[in-house]
Amino acid sequence: MARSLVTRWLCRVYRVLLRAYPADFRRRYGAEMAQVFADRCGEVAQTQGIGGLLRLGLDSGADWLISTIREGMDSMGATSQFAGNGVPVFGTVESSGPSRSALIHGGFLSLAFFSALVFAIGHGGSPRHWVLVGSHHPSRSHLLPVQSTATASTELTTEVQVRPFPDERPISPYFRLLAALAALDANHDGILSASEIANAPSALMKLDKNGDGKLSPEECGLRLPEGLNLDPQVLKLAFMRFHPVLAALDGDHDGEISWSEIRAAPQALKTLDRNGDGQLTVDEVLPDPGGQR
């Protein structure tokens, strides 16, 4: 009972799998292959039982996979062999067109997919930011004179709005290059928000690789070039003073950010907030080569 059930099920699955072969091959050999498979299933069911049937199913699955690929490639090769003279052509596995029912199913599927896509775009979780990228108002002062009799019958009052892509402004590479800034900018959006400023001590402590309770210039992101004939101490001090964030954090300007300075980081960072909006943007933390800051 169980054997005949498994046999019937395997044969049904195999008949479905036959559809993966190219149409010409399937039309010519499909019925024979299904019959041969059914004969083999019957024999195995008699001699080896359900275990043998399952093994046969696995073996036939591997055989199906390899032979569908090979026949598909053969079919494509047969299509393209008529190209000649080295001109590349596109071939299709199927020599016949899709059936009407397949076109109808495909149409419904496409419609459902695009409806879902439009719904997802329209009702997505991210906030919408609309940006005005162009406009036209009834004014002739900005128009260039043209030699033409074709004039618009009416004035246009059109505004074009598109959603920016990507949603957020581009993140300054400076936020990635300076280890201290990268650590402070927890959500990597290129802005040190009020909450990130408030959490600055814990973020900075993650940079303390040697666990000595303070941050050296190297831990803040300094990479000393080799073969440079300059005093490393001078370079370290220059590094800590060059970057406004580090200069603000290093309150006593000794070239290191001590434990007490780490704890006082929120207050120190707030001194860089020139516009008083409670957050630090890239223009507020970028070094000023002219020393005007």
């Binding site: 010519r28 019925a31 024979e32 019959q35 041969v36 083999r40 390899i66 026949e71």
Partner: protein
Amino acid sequence: MALPLTPPVFHILLALTDEERHGYGIMQDVARQTEGALQLGPGTLYGCLKRMLAARLVAESDERPDPALDDQRRRYYRLTELGRQALRAEARRLANAVSAARAKRLLAEGKA
């Protein structure tokens, strides 16, 4: 279809040497020849038959051995003269290879 023949093609030709066979008959005979070492799946079997028909190594048989006892849907295949020559050439090549292996003492005398 050039020499050397692939193992499935060689054994399918060998299966058709004595008599015309349908697909399942070929599959059973190949398994018998190889003592179960080569079990052809339907995809491999009919893929090979397709290429062998194109290369004229085998042909579809017009007559059925016993129509009264057999399923009408089955197709029978027979060896062509070209197929027989190819099989003979491949068998000779394999025999030479076995002789060479024996000469190098890789195989015991009288055993494959």
